[in-house]
Amino acid sequence: MSHGAGADRGEVDPAEVRRALRSVIDPEIGLDVVTLGLVYEIGVDEDLVVVRHTLTTRGCPMERVIRHGIAAAASRVPGVGRVETELVWEPEWNPGMIEDDAW
């Protein structure tokens, strides 16, 4: 599975997926999932994109909302045919993962 730029072979560029995920906003915090540091890894395998992400809190009821948002945003990237989301809890998220210029 490719994790780097594969645009020259016609693959989806993970960086483009990451940019698309900046449209997915955590509705309670008001920041997007990339700025929050919730997106850990974006994997690409031909037209399949796998987004490994976490949440700010275990048991967060927004899990389904965020997961659907990630899937919808990633699916809008040209070349993406399928999207899978993988929710992980390691490493545990902490506010230090928020981008410095978030606010």
Partner: protein
């Protein structure tokens, strides 16, 4: 391009995700609680002269007090737990139908009991207290069936369990006091039983719940994950020990453990204030939203209550105005406004989750905080916090006019918040 469908989350999602919080069950509790908040606030205005005279044992004042303790605070806690348990403990309430029935019995009990005190009909107190007891028992049974199913059993779990036990204990003493009003069976011990009842209810039930719930919610709302939570553990232990001491004091006459129990509970409250302060100090968000700002104001009032309570205890609870000021700082103040602050978080969240969540991936939707105007929210907070402070001052100085004006300010803030919450639940996608 055809939009692909996302598959279900892989990996460890099963252990981490929770059942979605219901809407109607917490919602009906919040609606009733807000009604009781406004009713209690109006009651404070009505009883301002009695408060200024230190009349905390007067039936009308007791009635208004119970509009806050039972109607506003406890109803809110019930509703919040039904929303919170699936998130924090991974276990939704065991029997939702029973919870709905409990709600209606509870509301009827609050109306009957507080109403009987307010209109001074002692004969109606016991039936009202009985209804409350039945509802509390049903709640305890439901909670007892829910907690064992929780996969996570940390501080929050233990606090909720302990708080429910103290709720039962607090009700038993309350029922005894209700019987006493008609029979006088408690005799000279009535005042001691009243003190014990107040502290088991306020400390063992409400404060311990606050400690347990804040252990999970404050880091989430303030983005202070990673801050030490040791002080919260100490707080829970001290408050539980203090409440147990108060309970035992009922059986260890002379009441040798009353002062130590009070000091333990005060120590627990201080530890909680330290813990909460740490979360505010370590927050990643630069600004504090109106709800958490009001909660911070409430914590300040809790600190005032602790000071007044310790002084009152050392002085042997001999001053009625001091005791009344303590009660106001504690009940509508520290405890009641901590709850009020959290309404600006939990009710918009509940509304967003059920109304906007299903369409969030397809269209632009407001953020949770955008469901209400922050300016009236900040104004409501200022009115309520300053209203309580000024009421405490008015009581301390024995000034009825100051007390009445202060309670009017509080009531204005309460009505403003209730109005905003009513507007929030009417929001939905256009």
């Amino acid at each position: 391009m055809t939009r692909p469908a996302a598959v279900a989350a892989r990996g460890s999602s099963a252990e981490g995700t929770a059942a979605a919080p219901p809407f109607l069950l917490p919602g009906e509790h919040f609606a009733a609680a807000l009604f009781f908040l406004v009713a209690g606030a109006i009651g404070l205005v009505w009883k301002a002269p009695a408060l200024a005279a230190g009349g905390f044992t007067e039936p009308g004042v007791a009635g208004v007090t119970h509009l806050f303790t039972l109607g506003w605070i406890t109803t809110s806690i019930f509703g919040a737990l039904y929303q919170f348990l699936p998130v924090a403990l991974g276990a939704p309430v065991r029997w939702e139908g029973l919870a709905h029935l409990t709600f209606w019995g509870w509301v009827a009990g609050v109306l009957a009991f507080a109403g009987a005190l307010i209109v001074d009909v002692p004969g109606a107190l016991v039936p009202g207290a009985g209804l409350l007891g039945a509802a509390i028992l049903a709640f305890a049974v439901n909670l007892g069936a829910t907690l064992p199913r929780a996969p996570r059993r940390g501080l929050t779990w233990w606090c909720v369990l302990g708080a429910a036990l103290f709720l039962l204990g607090g009700w038993l003493l309350g029922f005894l006091l209700a019987v006493n009003l008609g029979t006088g069976i408690l005799g000279a011990t009535r005042f001691t039983v009243l003190v014990v009842h107040l502290h088991i209810a306020a400390g063992g039930w409400v404060l311990l719940t606050m400690i347990g719930v804040s252990h999970h919610l404050l880091p989430m709302f303030l983005l202070s994950h990673g801050a030490s939570r040791r002080a919260g553990v100490v707080a829970a232990a001290l408050v539980a020990a203090g409440a147990t001491g108060f309970l035992l004091s009922e059986h260890l006459f002379p009441v040798g453990v009353l002062r130590p129990a009070g000091l333990l509970m005060a120590g627990g409250a201080v530890a909680f204030l330290v813990q909460a302060g740490l979360h505010y100090a370590k927050r990643r968000r630069p600004s504090v939203d109106p709800g958490m700002r009001l909660a911070a104001g409430a914590l300040g009032l809790l600190a005032v209550a602790v000071v007044l309570g310790v002084v009152s205890l050392v002085a042997g609870v001999g001053g009625p105005r001091l005791a009344t000021a303590y009660g106001v700082a504690l009940v509508p103040g520290g405890l009641g406004l901590f709850v009020a602050g959290h309404y600006y978080k939990i009710l918009p969240f509940l509304t967003w989750f059920h109304r906007f969540g299903p369409v969030a991936a397809e269209r632009d939707v407001p953020a949770v905080a955008e469901l209400f105007d922050p300016r009236p929210a900040r104004a409501a907070g200022v009115l309520m916090v300053s209203g309580v402070l000024a009421t405490v001052l008015g009581i301390g100085l024995g000034q009825p006019l100051t007390t009445r004006l202060a309670t009017v300010a509080f009531a204005a803030g309460a009505i403003l918040e209730a109005g905003q919450m009513a507007a929030v639940v009417r929001r939905g996608p256009e």
